[in-house]
Symmetry: C2
Amino acid sequence: MPGPRHRRTAQRARASALQPQLRISFKKSIAMGPGKADLLDAIDATGSISAAARKLGMSYRRAWLLVDTMNECFKAAVVETLTGGAQGGGARVTDFGHDIVRRYREMSRKAAASVAREMSEFATLMVR
Amino acid sequence: MPGPRHRRTAQRARASALQPQLRISFKKSIAMGPGKADLLDAIDATGSISAAARKLGMSYRRAWLLVDTMNECFKAAVVETLTGGAQGGGARVTDFGHDIVRRYREMSRKAAASVAREMSEFATLMVR
DNA sequence: CTACGTTATACACGATTAAATATAACGCAG
DNA sequence: CTGCGTTATATTTAATCGTGTATAACGTAG
């Protein structure tokens, strides 16, 4: 007797796992998403791209590319950097960047709230 | 002296480029997103995974993996398949699958509508 | 029985992506 | 001047992803 064809890995569905993700695409790249917002927070907290990358467990190169993508997508710089100096340099989220993150997070919150009921119903249709 | 600022028709920022994408993640995989919804539509229209893949310009393997991911993520099958027979077999979106797509599309629409104003404001902050 | 088109799977190959490593420029501390 | 940590970039290496190809099982038509 053959077993079920599709085995399902036991997995509890955490509420956060079912949160809708808001991503703002621009041409082929993603201008803003949850990962980039977190990176900007980490740059705020640490004062440098490299420290933010370490904090988030990603490579410096990857963090730098994410910053570069953001700076390319928006009208103005989201992150400003300095080289040299006492700490070797650093990075800083601009006022414009803070505004971008604030707007993004507000849109995410609002969009998620608008479908909160539907999402929780949807969640009941997924493997628990 | 810059030349005439021509309207960049080729890369004009279409509204869809800035539309938020709703993706419903589950564990590490994406249970439902715009691509998977389109695939289910194509399976509806063609009656098979392979024809749907051809219609969407993707490999059969990729389409099959997307279907498999969906079937794994949800409580019940989203797509049912048959092998053999007059047409060699085929695939069919289940009633459950239709319900999933309907719910997903409704959530997408509602979420996008809820932040439509904020999105258009946000768009003005991006490179034109 | 044979042919056909599809599902389901496996494998090889290339493309894309990410990480790891290396290096130069920078500017201040010492 | 030298050392340090950072930015920015290039190069190499590894991992992931996607396609293409191949094959077996399947069930109906002919």
